[in-house]
Symmetry: C2
Subunit: 556 residues, 2 copies
């Protein structure tokens, strides 16, 4: 069997202008970045604003396990399959972060015959968007510390600075540091730290901005810290918003690439799915909807975190009305949800499927709470048995849902043809009645309660008094109307990563709440959330290198 | 009078393919980055290796003053003028750093009618080269700290780590910090700091590498620190060289842009001119020489630092044989060298010129020590009087040199036509007999002595015992053959920035010596050298922003 890398290298990509032309993007709208990548000019996006919109399909999944589910490959495979059966589809994905490439994970451009390319470029610097975001984040930090250095006219309390620096790297040694050392001419000593770029609020803002003006307005609203008397200081107060917007201007134009089967894909933005909303930019999704009959897009983690945020944060903020949710599962992962260890996944175990499928059932039912039709994509592994697959199908039939076997990893578009036909049919039936889970005017603590009860099936939300007081303060500051972004483990409906399946009656323990005033949401941190990953003992970086032809080895 | 920004915006750039075609670069060799920038593929560079080489002209200057000299505009103006009179010329420049753009300086793409464009792009992210260099630098840091974290098999002493992180930002608060705080799972506490990206050894390596293999070999030789028993640990020991080379692969291809008059310009790399060698990449210069009759390039600071390093470090390392030096001066700056304060530059002061011209005289004579013919470009300001200009010309005539008045800032190519004809004539006469100042086999301390005596006219070099011992150690380690890169103030031949003109008999006080084993030179630090600038009280960033059409204001 070929590796992902071999398949990617064997593929012949088309010139990006040809992909653009098929997608309805004229040559004049393209800013090429090499032969196979292009940014789509903001002028063209503006010209598309009044166009009729295509349908929006969200690909989400069960709670992830070590067995792997294949959400990105399903997004790509479904897009390819829709194009193959005559529906003009556009794929919208997040950009990979450099950090994980050098850690454990390898690249993030799909796999098998369901990949976007050029793989090496997309996984490394791509069109430089993340570097621009890092620069904008750190320019704000530099201007903040420079303000402290030159006399601190605004009265910012150096102990109450919440804005952190960022780097697109897995680097645990940057998590907590004391900077500004060395004496009076060297800066102002204070505690700080770096988050990985995808965890920066600038990334979340970048992905929620609807145009350049909205981008700059959101950047200006970023709260960097407080004065001693509790007044918030913003990026606008520091006069940093204009230069930050200038740094981000070119990056805000969506990136066009292609799948190995020649479908157009917009790969743009990539916020964390815990402390941010975990999906690609609004700019890209809106552009896709103006061009294609169907946009297939993806949200991070399982549907409890990723889809909920896609629907309650991104779609609400951008006025998007999704039409269908695809929930991805595998027999292997469902067996793990049924209590089987990864090392014991080899043999047939129908009983484990029957125990574990409750995870899938709940995600399907959750998606319906948003008014969305749901279809299940069952990514097939060679070890799956007919009885195991039937067990999933029966469980789905009991709740009136259909599961389709998918083999796009090995077969490309043909492997997702059944799924694509079902998607086509469901879209044409038009049963979607999208509604967010809670209204904007609901108090922040209540919003958290609704998510915990309706989506996580928790019995209770524990909000410590200090956090509750902060939520009240956010409401007094005029941020009561924003959605809540829950940061918790992605492995369980609960806050305990070991409780697989479909736990009930648990407690959602809120540790801390933060206001992302620029992005426009409140983050509720439940349990430990890592905003700067570390490298493993043997990082992938040790084996990444150039081969004799200058190609990059080791990225997968 | 129009501002630089107005002139840049009023200019119509040609599609980069047209510029490339005129320069002899086929379309297939281009990796476009938007419509007006392109990288030139490394395959094409390899195919050019055996081509006859054009002539190499170095533009350098007197010691810089607050009055401004115009070295970059002269490089551009001369290139334009050579093309206008029928000599195929290519311009090679450094890429600007983001840091100064947000500080005091504004952009670095020339000025007036002698600019390269697109100005906004080149001054901000351009083609992402500096971001790639920052990433490679910081990946090495992350792998180093990760090595310490996971048990430190190599025995690196955390107190003896010399490798620092980098950021393309003016940010004094990052100069000195303690990182790895927060407990056993958060890293290994130690002192560190950030240098601006242009000061990273990765930047110097990037600019001296002759191809990808040489790049990776040099990266591998970087010394990151020592063990307790004094053994050096390299990037290769940390297995970081492959991934660093992968991050830099695309960046290593030179960037093609154009002047406002349509001359091709390669803008690539930009190392500091104090702790590194201060000129654009070897890759770009070599490509230019394979394509053009004449390459006009620039070195940082005055000729004592910039040209000396260009000749003794870059040309020696790359086997380049320069043919001519152009020394740039202005009457205003020479008056400052003659003791006039900037605020008193208004009126005619021939006596001040006669006192200050010694600075220019010495630089011209210094360039001849390298076997190079020299011509002087006198950048004209409207306040210059005929008597002042005559004073410069007479001083030059006394040493057998010619000075040409240049007005390319206001007049474009026509303003440098006399200079260009003189350059053309001198090149055709072929009097250049380039020789480095000292042989590679000379001991390191002696090399320092030769530079100090011959170029700075110092009476003595003071090397503290610890530094002398380190120089010996570098020789024992096998680095005795490398050139010496002096880091001292650019404002004076001496190490005292207030001693303008042509000081003699001074002492060159070496404070510290460092080995840049990957770049291939020893840095001798004389006086204070800032490797991470700070922002001023009112940084330029405060006034940078987007206008209603999404154009960037405030970059000049």
């Amino acid at each position: 069997m070929s590796t992902d890398l071999e398949i990617a290298r064997a593929a012949t990509l088309e010139p990006i202008g040809a992909i653009a032309a098929r997608a309805g993007i004229p040559d004049t709208a393209l800013e090429p970045y090499g032969k196979y990548k292009a940014k789509i000019g903001l002028d063209f996006l503006r010209s598309q604003a009044a166009k009729p919109r295509g349908k929006l399909v969200l690909v989400t999944g069960i709670n992830p396990t070590a067995a792997g589910e294949g959400k990105t490959t399903t997004t790509i495979g479904l897009g390819d399959a829709l194009n193959a059966i005559g529906t003009r589809a556009m794929i919208c994905l997040r950009e990979p972060s450099l950090g994980p490439c050098f850690g454990v994970k390898g690249g993030a451009t799909g796999g098998g015959r369901a990949q976007v390319g050029p793989m090496e470029d997309i996984n490394l610097h791509f069109t430089g968007d993340f570097h621009a975001i890092t620069s904008a984040n750190n320019l704000l930090s530099a201007m903040l510390d420079n303000h402290l250095y030159w006399g601190n006219e605004l009265g910012l309390d150096p102990r109450r600075v919440s804005w952190r620096r960022s780097m697109d790297m897995n680097d645990r040694n940057l998590r907590n540091l004391v900077l500004g050392l060395g004496g009076a001419s060297q800066g102002v000593p204070r505690e700080d730290g770096f988050d990985i770029t995808v965890a920066s609020e600038v990334m979340a803002i970048f992905c929620l901005a609807s145009d350049l003006a909205d981008l700059q307005a959101r950047l200006g609203r970023i709260i960097v810290g407080q004065t001693r008397d509790g007044r918030s200081i913003t990026a606008r107060d520091l006069k940093a918003d204009g230069a930050m917007a200038a740094l981000l201007r070119d990056a805000l134009a969506p990136n066009l690439v292609q799948t190995l089967e020649g479908s157009p894909a917009l790969v743009h933005g990539g916020p964390f799915a815990n402390i941010a909303h975990g999906c690609n930019s609004v700019m890209a999704t809106a552009l896709g909807l103006s061009l294609a009959d169907v946009v297939v897009t993806e949200a991070g983690f399982g549907a409890d975190l990723g889809a909920e945020k896609f629907l309650d944060i991104k779609c609400r903020s951008a006025g998007l009305t999704p039409d269908l949710a695809v929930v991805v599962a595998t027999c292997r992962a469902l067996k793990m949800h049924g209590g089987v260890a990864k090392s014991a996944l080899g043999g047939e175990d129908v009983a484990a499927i029957e125990r574990g499928v409750v995870n899938l059932v709940r995600h399907v039912e959750n998606m319906r709470k948003f008014g969305l039709p749901v279809v299940v994509a069952l990514n097939k592994f060679t070890t799956d048995t007919p009885a195991e697959i039937d067990a999933v199908r029966h469980a789905m039939a009991r709740i009136g849902a259909e599961a389709f076997l998918c083999t796009h990893w090995g077969d490309g578009a043909a492997g997702a043809a059944d799924l694509a036909r079902a998607v086509q049919r469901l879209l044409s039936e038009g049963h979607a009645r999208f509604r967010p889970l809670y209204p904007a005017e609901m108090p922040l603590a209540d919003k958290l309660g609704v998510i915990a009860r309706e989506i996580y099936h928790a019995a209770e939300v524990q909000i410590p008094p200090a956090a509750a007081a902060r939520l009240k303060k956010f409401e007094e500051m005029g941020f009561g109307h924003v959605p809540v972004c829950v940061a918790k483990t992605q492995y369980s409906f609960s806050a305990d990563p070991t409780r697989l399946g479909a736990p009930e009656g648990h407690v959602l323990p809120v540790r801390e709440v933060r206001l992302s005033a620029g992005a426009g949401f409140v983050v509720a941190i439940c349990g430990d959330v890592m905003t700067m990953p570390g490298l493993p003992r043997r990082p992938a970086a040790e084996t990444i290198g150039l081969d004799a032809e200058g190609r990059i080895d080791g990225l997968f």
